[in-house]
């Protein structure tokens, strides 16, 4: 039964969760002897006060859009893909192989090929847990966690033993050729007269992330496959009676999810580092969980939540630079967001539902009750 109006469901519940998380974060900042108001000011100027700050905020947001969409698509099918981290690592490997071993004439073709490589590698890494869930009933959460660790070992092996250039010390690939350099926002916005920071890493893959948001929206709400995915996620048994194959939906949803997580690599590996390093993903796969929860698994929500987390990430880096607050504050905020919007959802929802129910009962006439009393 829908007790609450839609606006309360979509806006009020996440907003209250977010406010609770913010209050607790402020208390944490107070507890370590810093001023929360000054901290927020510093974060806002650092992340949004200059095009340089915006460049970093949007760069992080691009990563989180991909991983957030990845988690969302799996959520719609009732699956919890916690393996975005590993899938993004493998996506990075795909990008590196595509760019290092094939000479590309221009960055546009290279970007297309790299996107494909990243998506294929990410999807393949999600395919095994998906198959095991669909066919053998192994719990996808556990297998995807295990695959994160296996991915780290694979990446470590590839970088240390295979892809490291001769004589290099750090475990990383060689630099990608200059021809595949992606234009950053400075180069994109200069022709239309906007002077964007030259040094910031936000690049053309932001546009691809936004296109991905639109495509995922079309897929989930405007295609038969999307309907099947959502029906399966709402009720596996009902979907089965409707003739929707559990194996097929599990596989397809996880392949799309893995591909999206892998595609993050065109931003961080191809766009920013321009080589593959060991810790390229930096936890973005896990932040996807927070982003998807906050965005209520809707692509537009994911888009907004990704920008919020991009702001938190860049703001947190500024805080660590100018105050004694370590970057880990962001990890705490991320945990609180996951806790309140995900696990403690009912804590916010139950009293709200009771409130709306009371309001509705007060408004409506109550003939039945009088009859019962007679």
């Amino acid at each position: 039964m829908d007790v609450m109006p839609k606006w309360a469901e979509v806006i009020l519940v996440p907003l209250i969760s977010l406010i609770l998380a913010a209050i607790l974060s402020a208390l944490v900042i107070l507890a370590i002897g810093e001023d929360p108001v000054a901290a927020v000011n510093l974060m806002v100027t650092g992340a949004l006060g200059s095009t340089y700050g915006w460049g970093y905020t949007l760069y992080y947001a691009t990563n989180f859009m991909f991983t957030g969409l990845a988690v969302s698509v799996a959520f719609h099918a009732g699956l919890f893909n916690i393996g975005g981290e590993g899938q993004a690592m493998l996506g990075g490997l795909g990008v590196a192989l595509v760019l290092l071993f094939i000479p590309w004439p221009h960055w546009t073709v290279a970007l297309l090929a790299a996107t494909l490589g990243a998506a294929v590698f990410g999807a393949l890494w999600a395919a095994i847990p998906a198959y095991l869930q669909a066919k053998r009933g192994s719990h996808i959460v556990i297998t995807t966690i295990m695959f994160n660790f296996i991915a780290a070992a694979v990446l470590n092996y590839m970088l240390v033993n295979q892809l490291r250039p001769q004589g290099a010390m750090d475990p990383a690939t060689a630099r990608f050729p200059e021809t595949v350099h992606l234009p950053n926002l400075h180069q994109i916005l200069a022709p239309i007269g906007i002077d964007f920071s030259r040094a910031a890493p936000a690049n053309v893959s932001l546009l691809i992330a936004i296109i991905a948001c639109v495509l995922v929206w079309l897929l989930i709400w405007r295609t038969p496959l999307g309907l099947e995915i959502r029906s399966y996620g709402k009720s596996g048994r009902a979907a089965k009676y409707a003739g929707i194959g559990a194996v097929r939906i599990t596989m397809v949803a996880m392949l799309i999810s893995g591909a999206l997580a892998g595609m993050m690599a065109i931003n961080n590996v191809m766009g920013e580092a321009e080589r593959l390093v060991l810790n390229a993903v930096e936890g973005a796969g896990f932040i996807g969980i927070a982003v998807a929860l906050m965005g209520r698994s809707h692509p537009f929500g994911v888009f907004l939540a990704a920008i919020l987390f991009g702001f938190l990430y860049q703001g947190g880096a500024e805080l660590a630079l100018w105050t004694s607050i370590p970057r880990e504050l962001i990890v705490v905020i991320q945990a609180l967001v996951i806790l309140f919007t995900g696990a403690l959802d009912n804590m916010v929802r139950m009293p709200l539902e009771r409130m709306f129910l009371a309001a509705r009962v007060a408004r409506a006439p109550k003939p039945e009750r009088k009859q019962a009393a007679e």
């Binding site: 507890a31 991320q334 995900g342 009912n346």
Partner: protein, 324 residues
């Protein structure tokens, strides 16, 4: 080629030490999951306990106070997990993820605030650490062939928490399979409605199980920071909570099997530290990354049901809603 070198006493000795935190965390997960509460927050609870035990031990100089602080810290996180997954019937997996991040962030934040050493505690010395216990006659027995060195090296000379962990195995078995409490706890993980019908509180039992899980994770974390190592460093659990989770599945949620599984995974960790021994014994190099990944690969194989099927408690992961 000398296969026996793979079972060198020094390797087996570090196997026991490295298996201890895995075993404690594995038994912790066993209590929680047998009661129907999935717990992927073992890692976070261990990390939280490791920090608070090291911090309190460093501040007071008493490792026992450190142990208590570690247990209390871990239980606080257990409380959050219980609140989210039992009281508010939230998603247990998401709650576990949140707890892992909460611990990873808060430990560094508090460590920086208290000690200003870049997210670590000062090195523990003297009474701030659990010292090895030399069992009686260990030195005298050393000269006895074969058994003597095993007794002196392998069995004697560990800190008290190692023995606590080993005793926790029969303890867990007895509690779960030989007491009324254990029967009810297992029942609540298989069929909570039946337990409810019998007039036993599902919520109460599950909170007790999550609480025991917190205590054991607390001991595991305290052992990491005050027994295995001398102090807390950032992210020092390094995935052990997840290896323990893997071991739990490997052991199919049974206490004695948990001991063997964690000893196996402990052995893999110990041998990974000694590539020279592997090369000497097998005649070729084994990639260290393969050894790192082996516990996870083995778990996936077990989960896939190719080598005996691992079936979790039936009501695991589902919040219990009373019928009205």
């Amino acid at each position: 080629m000398d296969i026996l070198a793979l079972f060198d006493l020094s390797v087996l000795d570090s196997t026991v030490r490295l298996a201890t935190p895995l075993l404690l965390a594995c038994l912790a997960g066993l209590f929680s999951e047998r009661a129907g509460i999935f717990d992927i927050g073992l890692e976070g609870k261990m990390l939280f306990a490791a920090f608070f035990s090291a911090a309190v031990a460093a501040l007071t100089g008493s490792v026992w106070l450190g142990l208590l602080a570690g247990i209390a810290a871990s239980m606080a996180l257990s409380g959050i997990h219980g609140l989210a997954s039992i009281t508010f019937r939230g998603n247990q997996l998401i709650s576990g993820v949140a707890i892992n991040f909460l611990a990873a962030g808060l430990t560094v934040l508090i460590a920086q605030d208290w000690f200003q050493q870049g997210g670590r505690t000062p090195s523990l010395i003297g009474g701030g650490r659990f010292e090895p216990i030399v069992l009686p006659f260990a030195e005298a027995a050393r000269s006895v062939p074969f058994i003597g060195p095993i007794y002196a090296e392998l069995i004697s000379g560990h800190s008290i928490l190692v023995y606590v962990a080993l005793l926790a195995v029969p303890g867990t078995w007895w509690l779960l399979f030989r007491t009324r409490f254990g029967l009810r706890l297992r029942a609540v993980g298989e069929n909570p409605a039946a337990v409810d019908t019998a007039g036993v509180s599902v919520v109460g039992l599950r909170f007790v199980a999550v609480g025991i899980c917190g205590v054991l994770c607390g001991i595991a974390g305290a052992y990491l920071a005050t027994g295995l190592q001398a102090g807390f460093v950032k992210d020092m659990t390094a995935g052990r909570g997840f290896i323990a989770l893997a071991a739990l599945i490997f052991a199919k949620w049974r206490p004695w099997h948990a001991l063997w599984a964690t000893l196996l995974f402990g052995y893999l960790q110990a041998i990974a530290l000694r590539p020279d021994i592997i090369e000497g014994a097998l005649g070729f190099r084994v990639q260290v990354q393969l050894l790192d990944a082996l516990p996870y690969i083995l778990t996936v194989v077990i989960l896939a049901g190719f080598v005996g099927k691992a079936i979790p408690p039936r009501a695991g992961g589902e919040p219990y809603v009373k019928e009205r």
